[in-house]
């Protein structure tokens, strides 16, 4: 089999384990050096391909690549940039082909979420629609856990472990203070449309009455009166109240609790500030002393508390992507399949990208308790395996050690291209 080069890039919001997938892709490519020559990483995702801004990964040491496994965020730079349709924006695709031709790239690995799956799907059509022989594989990643088909999305398990642990730890804090001080604690978590991360907060409560006393999902319309009644009940019964609230919490008419009014590059509303909004309501309606936290990027960057299951799955989908590509399976995504619930077991199976792109997987209603304020046992059985195991990074001088890449740029062969 002839040897050609591979392109790998990271897209969308990064996670604690997206670099573990990079590590899986790169190490698998190195193992198949008879078929894959060099790995070129796109600097800042697909933008790196369009602008011919390529990092020569072959110049990184094995140690540096291995260190990606315990380094959070996107080591090669990510992007929020969605390709338009081939039909209307042919020039972009022609440029991609020029770049791929110039660098003999025949394998395309795109590591991202739903929007990125769409980009990868469009790139995968280069072969069929424009006659360039390319195999494109999407490597799944999203803290939001909203990709379809795959049982769960790499990146989610670690955020879930972080939020469950933080909820547990902070709840002990409030419980200590509640006699004379803070009565209500509100933790705001990510999850624009799907309450998966909020649900993970629910894992902290393991017995009747355990905090969190309320989980507020985007899937359940926010009813101020019902929430306040539950908060008051909790303070009266337990002395305090812990709330995990999704950034996507919204009223029945679809208005978000806290809408900052900004939009991101994909046109999504940029949210934030639900926790102070909700805490303010509680102060106003019930008068309780409160504290609130907004974990924001801390939750998705917290590699120090990654789930070992998540790290292993992130690595495995990267590795599998290369195997699928070498098998000539274009437009696929390695998906995680739960092969057994107890004991938990999983495998990685290919899924057609066309069925993945632009789909969001919401929390099923039976994962949310009937009162709307917590998770069901079925949800717990689904979530719990995903946070199992620890995979602490090595520490130097008190801080996590992270990969230091040389990031040698590949010499440009083409004229500049404005995106």
């Amino acid at each position: 089999m002839a040897q050609h080069n591979a392109f790998y890039a990271q897209s969308g919001g990064v996670t604690a384990v997206i670099n573990a997938s990079a590590c899986g892709v790169i190490e698998a490519c190195r193992k198949h050096s008879d078929q894959i020559g060099k790995v070129y990483a796109g600097h800042n995702g697909i933008i790196g391909a369009l602008t011919e801004d390529l990092i020569d990964v072959s110049q990184e040491s094995d140690e540096a690549i291995a260190a990606l496994r315990h380094t959070p965020a996107g080591a090669f730079g990510s992007c929020r940039y969605k390709l338009k349709d081939i039909e209307t924006h042919r020039a972009q695709y022609e440029r991609l082909i020029e770049v791929f031709k110039a660098h003999d790239i025949r394998y395309f690995f795109y590591n991202g979420g739903g929007d990125s799956a769409d980009t990868c799907l469009k790139v995968s059509q280069l072969s069929e629609k424009m006659g360039y022989p390319l195999t494109a594989i999407h490597v799944p990643k999203t803290v939001d856990n909203d990709l379809p088909i795959t049982d769960n999305s790499p990146g989610f398990g670690s955020v879930a472990k972080y939020i469950a642990t933080s909820t547990l730890e902070a709840s002990l804090d409030i419980a200590s203070m509640s006699a004379t001080s803070t009565k209500v604690f509100v933790l705001e978590v990510m999850g624009r449309h799907a309450g998966w991360i909020a649900a993970a907060g629910g894992l902290a409560g393991q017995g009747e009455g355990d905090p969190p006393h309320l989980v507020i999902f985007p899937e359940v319309h926010f009813d101020r009166e019902a929430v306040m009644a539950r908060v008051q009940e909790s303070v009266q019964e337990y002395g305090y109240c812990v709330i995990v609230v999704s950034e996507g919490a919204r009223y029945e008419d679809g208005t978000f609790l806290a809408d900052s009014g900004n939009t991101d590059a994909f046109g999504h509303r940029q949210l934030g500030g639900v926790a102070p909004t909700l805490a303010g309501m509680i102060k106003q309606d019930l008068g309780y002393k409160y504290h609130w936290a907004v974990a924001d990027y801390l939750q998705r960057a917290a590699r120090h508390l990654a789930s070992r299951t998540d790290v292993e799955q992130a690595y495995a989908v990267g590795e599998k992507a290369v195997e699928l590509a070498l098998d000539g399976q274009n437009a696929q995504m390695p998906a995680i399949k739960r092969t057994s619930e107890d004991p938990y077991a999983w495998s990685v199976e290919p899924a057609p990208l066309a069925e993945v792109a632009n789909q969001e997987k919401f929390m099923p209603r039976h994962f949310i308790r009937e009162d709307g304020f917590g998770i069901t046992e079925e949800c717990r059985r689904y979530l719990s395996p995903l946070i199992q195991g620890e995979d602490f990074p090595p520490f130097d001088n008190g801080l996590p050690r992270v990969a230091r890449l040389a990031k040698h740029r590949v010499e440009r062969k083409l004229p500049e291209f404005k995106i």
Copy 2:
């Protein structure tokens, strides 16, 4: 030597390692069972003593006590409650004596910060001013690191490690996203009057230009123009800007950047919301896309990322407190002494409580860079040893294991007392 009982209680804001001090006190008491009979823990601090709400620690298993070492927050409940002067509020002190007499308590261990040191000092005067033979020892604890005499305060090292790690991890995230998305990240940290925790964020930056690009201290007057200039410079030079801002950041006239208008039981202003305030200013003045996080209780409850140095010191001051008490040294606080800088070494030495109570230790000006936006090498040399070493708790089912205490209440012998 006759055998008498001991009282232990936790006070003020809790930390990731205050229970490690409890563990140190209780295990040391158990070792000296010839002199110390039972340990009674005050439920919710000194309030437990006043209301005769005592937990019989002698009924807890050795395993449960050992587990306190890796359990965050205050296992016996804390309080924000400051005793008034003996002269004006004699009844309270007479009540304390009644309770201590009823339960044969001759040793008093109070685990807290500056305000609690004041309470402990007042209790220590029972012996001299009211003739009750009591030895009172203050066990230091505060995430704010603002206790005088002691080289550092137990609780601070773990918060420092958490903030330094979180800053490092989140910075990698922003760096990944900055090409097409978030340009500025603001992390709000605790520290009402002293910038020690903010300074710890500075540890994340280990080389020239490394994030955080700005640390905003309460000790340096907030100058909007200067801050914006530095943010712009950072975005232009590095592509992004990471800011660690203290909740105590304030203008030259003393107004806090974000003043919620609430006060706690000690009369301190309750702060919060500096991060969104500052992020909003940046959006308004420079137009950059931002994200912000408020770590709040997460930072001081994060036992999963405790500093081993901190855990060991927290345990050691608890242990030493018992030794000092048995040595008859009333009104003392075991303080940490730095005996060597490199390699770092420390010992625990007694300090007179009268010199500790109601004093706040601020960051020395030479710990803050001349431009006011970062830490100096001298500050780094001081801080770095405090975050050294990890002491991960055991995990069960993906979550940290925490102590489960039986908390048997001691039978009340006295009439009710209203506080």
